[in-house]
Amino acid sequence: MDDVITLDSVWKVFGENADVAMKAICERGLSKAEVLKEFGCVVGIADVSFSVKRGEIFCVMGLSGSGKSTMVRHLNRLIEPTAGQISVLGKDMLSLSESELREMRARHIGMVFQHMALLPHRTVLDNVAFPLQVRGESKSRRWDISQKCLERVNLIGYDDRFPSELSGGMQQRVGLARALASNPDVLLMDEPFSALDPLIRRQLQDQFMVLSEDLNKTTVFITHDLEEAIRIGNRIAIMKDGRIVQIGTPEEIVTRPADEYVRDFVEGISKLKLVFAHSIMIPIKDYKPKRLVNFDESPRASHGTDLDQLIDIATSTENVIVIVDDDGTDIGVVDRATLLKGIQGGKA
């Protein structure tokens, strides 16, 4: 799989003396607080590097002020980085001319905003058609496409309404349809569901997951909600004070938090659907039963079985569970104690 988005040690320093401050950071390795004190500059994001593969949903999780919204705005250059390299779809974003950049935004990068940012004086259909209008499509063509996008997000029959007549959840679906209208390769989603109430949020999350499976778009998804990140993301990056603290799959984040900060986040998260047999099992050669165990009578489970399913199996048998790999070879064992430990979140 190829990398669609690559960031290489990107920095953003806000303030008048940003360049001087940046130089000082490189030479002397100042901390965020020192930069603020010495130059009056705020470090927005610091030394951020990652890459996103085609079709991947890459979640960026962090608290407010952690720089995640600043970071995502670098991907379509709404914000200019102070240092570093950004490449999207194989193009060096920083070397694009004004018109090339507009072309890139209008055709290849769609964006959804936390506060929808719809145009109040335009109908729903014209809002969705806006990116197409910007790049100069004819009316009939942009209306055709927009209608299809609205169908995609299950918003039918509101074409000629104005955004103010719609509920928050519907408005955000318009926002999503607008981002899809130009059929971009990359979707940037800046806390799209944060302003919605929990029930609608869940609905939209489900809808989005179905949609992205269909469309197979490379997505960078910003959120402050770890549960949302785990539900949606193929991989998750956790940001703190402008830096990326950890990047990994949901399971890696939950089972092996990189530091105290991540551990705090993970604490309250239910592991049942996130932790799989292979990460808690005892390898078969290390398994030292207290009494003689006949593996033949034991139920078999795939190494990709999650804790929830393991509990179901465990309750229907007295024996330990034997874990098998894809070829059906026995590779490990999960007994009661291991399973309980795994649910608790302790190390296997």
């Binding site: 209008a106 990068i109 145009l119 990116p131 209008q133």
Partner: protein
């Protein structure tokens, strides 16, 4: 128990008052312990009055009692040495001299044998004597009042001192509470503050007391300073005549003449431009047959603003027609139409610029204030110098007065466009031009429409003033009514302007509301 809290507060009082800590701690505790008024006597404050306030940095107290004590002292001074009734005495002396002169004249006339002339002079002298006696009586009464004034002054002074003594700790406690929350301000007694208080008192008290208690303060001061400053030191009026003013005014004249002579072509060009717009509108409104103009106006009102406005428009037009003001009204509408059109044409781009550039707006703001607040007569003068008289200069004066609202409100509207909406548009690849026309202007439109409306109404209010420099129309009618005090004419003309304004306003508002209504 609040023992701990009390303790820290005691410390902060001590830190604040710096000296006499025990006294102030006790007094503040007394004040804070009572809900109503309690007697808290401050001897130092009563003795030194404003100076105590200065020393402690209680400046409100300083200024208040500076003025109150001064008032009491002036009364005391007037009672002690004031030349009360001096003006009446002077009048008496003048009259007495006059009488003596008349009597001398009478004696002369009698000497040459003109008995009749002498008798008439004596008659005049007799009449004057009555007036002189009244003046003398008044002067005596005034000087008899000296004792009363003195006593009043002393009572006043004592009262002020008592109030000073009783109020001081309250004022100081309030100051202390402020200090506690902001941790800024004077602590204890500071000698620079005392010095400043002293200087203030020396600057204010003696001169004021002299001014109010001495009969001829300027002469008194001249003798008092021993002629050191000559007779030039006057305190009753500022010792400068019109010399600077005249020089500067003359310079101004020269400057304007120079501009008028050297940039005549520019001014002529501006005049030609305005005349072009004006002529177009006049042809449209005046030379088109009146039934056509009326019909189109009413239909326009009906289509844009609905039935009610259309009926009102028809009634207003009928009023103008039957009062025989049709042509004057059309001239007026053309005039303000040209003014408003140019205001909008120039004002909206400027407003967009000021809305986008904070620096440009900072520079423009005082200019806009100047345009709106400067009395119209002031800029009428240079306008006449540069552009002569007639309608185009009238339009120009209208421009100056009526343009600021549309500029301000356009800028306001532009700044009111949410950043998030603009960001979203840019994220979808908008160019600057697309952003302006598809996002910023539509979102700023309500504000811009309000600005245009205000500009039109302000242009109408300039009609009479524009007529001062020769712009014809309803304004000239009213100006004429003003000159001949023709009340009826003025009223009818005024109503005509009012109806023009209301029709334009209602049609524009209605049109915009309909559009907005269909959107929302």
């Amino acid at each position: 128990m609040t023992e701990g809290a009390h303790h820290t507060q005691d410390h902060s009082v001590a830190a604040f008052v710096d000296t006499h800590t025990e006294y102030y701690e006790a007094e503040f505790a007394k004040i804070q312990g009572k809900t109503g008024f309690t007697i808290s006597w401050n001897m130092m404050a009563a003795l030194f009055g404003p100076l105590w306030g200065a020393a402690r940095g209680v400046w409100g107290y300083f200024w208040t009692f500076l003025v109150l004590e001064l008032f009491a002292l002036v009364q005391v001074g007037r009672g002690l040495w004031g030349e009360l009734g001096a003006d009446q005495l002077e009048r008496y002396e003048r009259l007495a001299a006059n009488i003596a002169r008349r009597e001398a004249q009478a004696a002369e006339l009698a000497a040459v044998g003109d008995a009749e002339g002498a008798a008439s002079k004596l008659k005049i002298a007799e009449n004057l004597r009555d007036a002189a006696e009244t003046a003398l009586e008044a002067a005596q009464m005034a000087s008899n009042a000296a004792a009363t004034i003195l006593i009043t002054g002393i009572v006043l002074l004592v009262t002020v001192k008592v109030v000073e003594g009783l109020y001081a700790n309250y004022a100081y406690e309030a100051q202390y509470l402020r200090w506690r929350s902001v941790q800024k301000g004077q602590i204890g007694v500071r000698w620079p503050s005392v010095l400043f208080g002293l200087i203030g008192m020396i600057a204010i008290w003696p001169l004021t007391i002299v001014r109010f208690t001495v009969g001829k303060p300027d002469e008194f001061l001249a003798t008092f300073t021993g002629g050191l400053l000559g007779g030039r030191l006057t305190i009753s009026e500022f010792p400068v005549g019109k010399e600077y003013f005249t020089v500067l005014a003359k310079q101004g004249d020269v400057g304007f003449d120079w501009l008028a002579n050297n940039f005549g072509d520019v001014f002529d060009g501006v005049t030609a431009g305005i005349r072009w717009v004006l002529d177009g509108l006049e042809v449209l409104l005046i030379q088109t047959p009146w039934p056509v103009v009326m019909f189109v106006t009413v239909v326009l009102a009906l289509r844009l603003a609905g039935m009610r406005v259309a009926i009102f428009t028809a009634a207003s037009l009928a009023y103008l027609a039957f009062m025989g003001l049709w042509e004057l009204a059309m001239i007026t509408v053309a005039l303000i139409g040209a003014g408003a059109f140019l205001c909008i044409l120039i004002g909206i781009p400027l407003g967009i610029w000021f809305g986008k550039s904070k620096r440009a707006y900072t520079i423009a703001e005082p200019v806009l204030d100047f345009m709106q607040t400067m009395p119209a007569f002031v800029y009428l003068i240079p306008i006449i110098a540069f552009f002569g008289t007639g309608k185009p200069p009238g339009v120009l004066a209208t421009l100056i007065f009526a343009m600021p609202p549309v500029i301000r409100l356009t800028a306001l509207g532009m700044r009111g466009v949410p950043e998030t909406t603009k960001e979203a548009a840019i994220a979808f690849g908008c160019s600057k031009r697309q952003l302006l026309f598809n996002v910023e202007l539509p979102l700023a439109l309500p504000s811009i429409m309000t600005g245009i409306n205000q500009t039109i109404l302000m242009a109408l209010s300039m009609v009479v003033i524009a007529s001062l420099i020769g712009a014809e129309g309803l304004g000239a009618l009213i100006l004429e009514a003003l000159q001949y005090a023709a009340k009826g004419q003025g009223l009818l003309g005024g109503l005509a302007i009012l109806f023009c304004a209301m029709v334009i306003d209602r049609v524009a508002q209605g049109a915009y509301k309909r559009k907005a209504g269909s959107n929302a």
